[in-house]
Symmetry: D2
Subunit: 350 residues, 4 copies
């Protein structure tokens, strides 16, 4: 940490800063410049809170030099982590697509959705049983029953399932039903009590970025989970909130190369929530893979027009299948793979 003193700061105030650093067990290094004196704290500065110094007399500001995250940082774990989700590897050379409806509605809807996404080449299935809705009067999800419906639909195709956990009191139900990946939604990215509980389980977690969370806050949220012992964390960018009103959110594609550099954990993209409209999903999906994402989380509904929520952002099975062909080709162009079942390929060329 570096503490920048005000111009003309007294020797007494410099001594006081020095004493405070030593109290915390770090060494002190003083540099007297022409306009400012700088005081460096040498040692593990993660133990120090910069704000504490800013209340001392004569201090202009103080700043961290080291990054505050450790377990999730590539600096401390150079090799990329590959997470095994019930046999599907995330974060390796192969790109993984997770697809399925916004919400679990009925058994036939789930059965058709599972068949559609599996045949197009998706390797995992998504479906919301608990839905965070802006309005208390909107459909809130099927609840625990929805978890069972999701597992039942995915099983015949061997698809691991991904679904969102909102309430810490429901965690046991998720574990008992064998949810393969627990998704933490944007609104709960900093629900710290929930993150702490996830640190204690041995289930992979998809951690979505909060709507206005910085990369740093997002990494620190993952650090909460990792600090508890669970290192199976997949970052999912899903669009950030900006001034732009022409689309719901702005997909922050820059986050992909930045995260791949900062952390050893996998990074995927949710193009469906980012743009908010089905017609934007192909362009955003292609951009995400080209930028280096390890996978996608896409909303697909057997009949989007009849979907109970977010109807306007789900792809139809045909649209999804066509998109998978293009994604497979882009993957090859950048030296990765996204295998498509041969039946799907024939369907297209036919």
């Amino acid at each position: 940490m570096i503490i920048v003193m005000e111009p003309g700061a007294s020797e007494e105030s410099i001594a006081r800063v020095e004493a405070k650093i030593r109290e915390n067990g770090l060494d002190v290094h003083i540099s007297r410049g022409t306009e400012r004196t700088l005081i460096g704290a040498v040692g593990d500065e993660r133990k120090l809170e910069p704000k504490t110094f800013e209340t001392l007399p004569g201090v202009e500001r103080s700043l961290h030099i080291l990054k505050p995250y450790k377990l999730v940082a590539r600096e401390w774990h150079h090799a990329s982590t590959v997470i095994d989700v019930s046999g599907v590897l995330v974060g390796g050379q192969e790109i993984q697509v997770i697809a399925g409806p916004c919400s679990v509605e009925t058994d036939p809807q789930m059965r058709d959705a599972a068949a559609a996404v599996a045949s197009a080449g998706a390797r995992m299935m998504r479906g919301g049983a608990f839905k965070p809705r802006t309005s208390p009067y909107a459909f809130q999800g099927k609840g625990v029953e929805g978890l069972d419906m999701l597992k039942k639909a995915a099983a015949p195709h061997g698809l691991p399932v991904v679904t969102e956990l909102m309430d810490v009191r429901m965690l046991d139900a998720f574990l008992e039903r064998g949810v393969d990946v627990i998704q933490i939604g944007a609104r709960n990215m900093q629900n710290f009590d929930l993150l702490k509980e996830l640190g204690r389980v041995n289930v992979p977690v998809i951690l979505k970025r909060g709507l206005c969370a910085t990369i740093n806050e997002w990494l620190m949220a993952a650090e909460y989970i990792a600090a508890g012992g669970n290192h199976k964390i997949i970052f999912c960018e899903r669009g950030i909130r900006t001034f732009e009103t022409a689309y719901r959110n702005v997909l922050d594609v820059t986050a992909v190369p930045v995260l791949k550099r900062e952390t050893h954990l996998p990074v995927i993209i949710d193009p469906s929530h980012a743009g908010g409209k089905a017609w934007m999903v192909p362009a955003l999906s292609c951009a995400a893979i080209a930028a280096g994402a390890d996978g996608l989380l896409i909303e697909v509904h057997p009949s989007p027009i009849d979907a109970w929520c977010d109807a306007d952002q789900a792809l139809s099975p045909a649209e999804f299948s066509a998109l998978m062909q293009t994604l497979s080709q882009i993957s090859a162009a950048i030296g990765r793979t996204l295998p498509i079942p041969s039946a799907a390929k024939q369907a297209k060329s036919a």
Copy 2:
């Protein structure tokens, strides 16, 4: 709701929209313009989801005309609601200031804080027992023990207490210990399961605005609480996240007149978290009261330099007392009152 058809939309697609509106029990009103056909849904449009229509062929977009909130809306409840917090009235002619330290640390700290804020004219006391921290390695609060320490310190001065609830599993502990106002922090503004539980209790709630929550989302979050039966809700603006990096957040003072127009519930301001520096607090506090806020939530610590968290944003007792004098005068200038104990007034003039 109004559905805007694309230029050249077919009669068939218009008929399909019409049918969908009637299915939902509303009436239809069609207006054929020179460039677009508009279809109005007449009736309680809150039952309709605009997105559903945007998937239909020929539809360009659809938009709500009515606001989605009802219980918290001034449109349906014209008179301002005054909330009785253990005898202190919030939302009336009198301005109420809530003050105290960021976190509950020790009994002596709390005793001194309570004495300081009471003598300066604060009518309620704040203090955090559970602290939401960006880093898992930072001090997380004293927990349940902190609730007891807060109540014990505030009691001799007759100050009701305000403290933050983060985890739904802790609600009973809050109720048992007689927390007078439950604060929901910015990060939990859309923790819907928590909001639903608060709807079932009979304790006033301070609902802080999320860092990037729109006014509309904030009102809908309050609607979640109100829909459960608890109408004792106080909105608290605490700064929003923008592109500016010179200060932590931007205090959105425009939210005050806008909320006072949209809702009948009280609105207060937290100037301490907004700016993030103690030296900004007086200017922001004065601005808030001048803009029409019903109160303030201010961090005051007996010795800011020694605070365990957010040391740089707490006012000292002397700074707080001086600020209260100015706030009292501004209140008078706009026709409201903020009574200051006569001892505090003498202290200043002495």
Copy 3:
């Protein structure tokens, strides 16, 4: 336009709105709902200013149904416009890459830059002679002399040149020296007097998006140019300003599909300014092409370490050449072309 009346608006106030619409030569359509009365203005609403109605008694709000732009809108010009820049076609099936240094520095630097970008497959050259700098004490560009240096370097390779115009008084110098494409930077996107002058010339314009300009404002800025008679406009997204501080700006890749739908004009991306670091440029470039952009504007310097400005964001010739190979493959994957000189291909495989 639709005018939404307040609940309980009087017949008199409805009549007044009606009269104001008719005064402007439009027809009136009234729809009385259960909670609100809506008044539609039927005809070319572009003549009406919604704000005018919001001052009338009894009016809650008013809103446009039509989009405010016309000449640049795809609605009125369905086919994509292909712009001929001195023989290089922008907006067609072929993807065009414009490359070169941030600023024109010396003749040898420009000579090397031109050779490098041409041999890697760029079809136009960029270079700044007039530099907008945040600080008055920073290098402001070589000025008119720089225009000559740019033309001289590009000529042997047959590369049309792109350079930024900041001051309307310099327009004649740009025209006299045969600048092939005039670039309008982000800070001047709404410099309306400058836009009006560009409407009067017959030179293609690259219109960069302002740092916080909405898609709508950007289209309207282009409409200023088009309204003057110059329809050769290329949109260039270069990152928007958000709350994120981990990188300079957020590349708004969603703008690509949205603009391609809203306007018939070409859309390119500047990945260098968006991220602000050379190591981010390949990922962002790939994402842009995959998302459907018609081209790229990339900073390349013969020796980035010695660049006079933005040294940290320029690619070296070798990095640029390698990127072009990947971009060419991604172009093929999405059914477009980006031809690479055969010498460049051999260099790679060698």
Copy 4:
């Protein structure tokens, strides 16, 4: 400046950074920490560009310690600057209100506006002759003729006039007609060629903040003017662009105390453009004065309903007069003065 080296940076790369600092005439100070080596550049770091170092091998990042502005900084000019605008002092103990219509329309409109604002206590008059409009099809202002109309209307009341300059080619016309204060609008805050010209004249400038300009960029824009020799600069905050859509912009009231600390120059607020609705203006005006602003720039129209632009945000003369009474009382509450003509006071009490 401090250069942070990567973990494990070689001695060679450290030596290279050191050499580059010395080349620029500064001294070097090296601090070897447990995880990072820091290199300090001791001397006037304004001569160094941090980005230049970030391209060197082994460098993680580099950061400025000193602020980049000098002439406008309070650090170098402790006393507040009071600017004399044709006899009206801005930046002193007295608060100054500038009022008038959005645009100059007709002689009677201007005559009535001048009488209204003068009698309510405004000390300067505003009125736009050149209007920056989002749409090329909207009213663009009366032009030079409007300047004459403004001067003519203001003269009988002894009001200096404020009006916006958009095009550098119009500067002479402004000077010839004796415009007392030249306003630079938000869109032109970084029109550097225009700022440079203003540095060469001896007329006070109101420099509005760009919609997404940081405090730092704003101060640097003022530095452009000051560097030319004109130090008569008044900052005007007018709302920033955020994610919020319930109002046009967010008035950034925090900018007031921050600017008053960073610069010796006066700071005023434009509450009319910030909120965008007349009913928000009183609350925002009161907040601005309470926060410490030196003045206000308010839109007042003799008949808002008939205004040619921004009709919904102008106050009527009666609303303005009532607001001035309240502002005068708030000024007194914070120890400043805003004198109101005695006739205006009687009007109110009558």
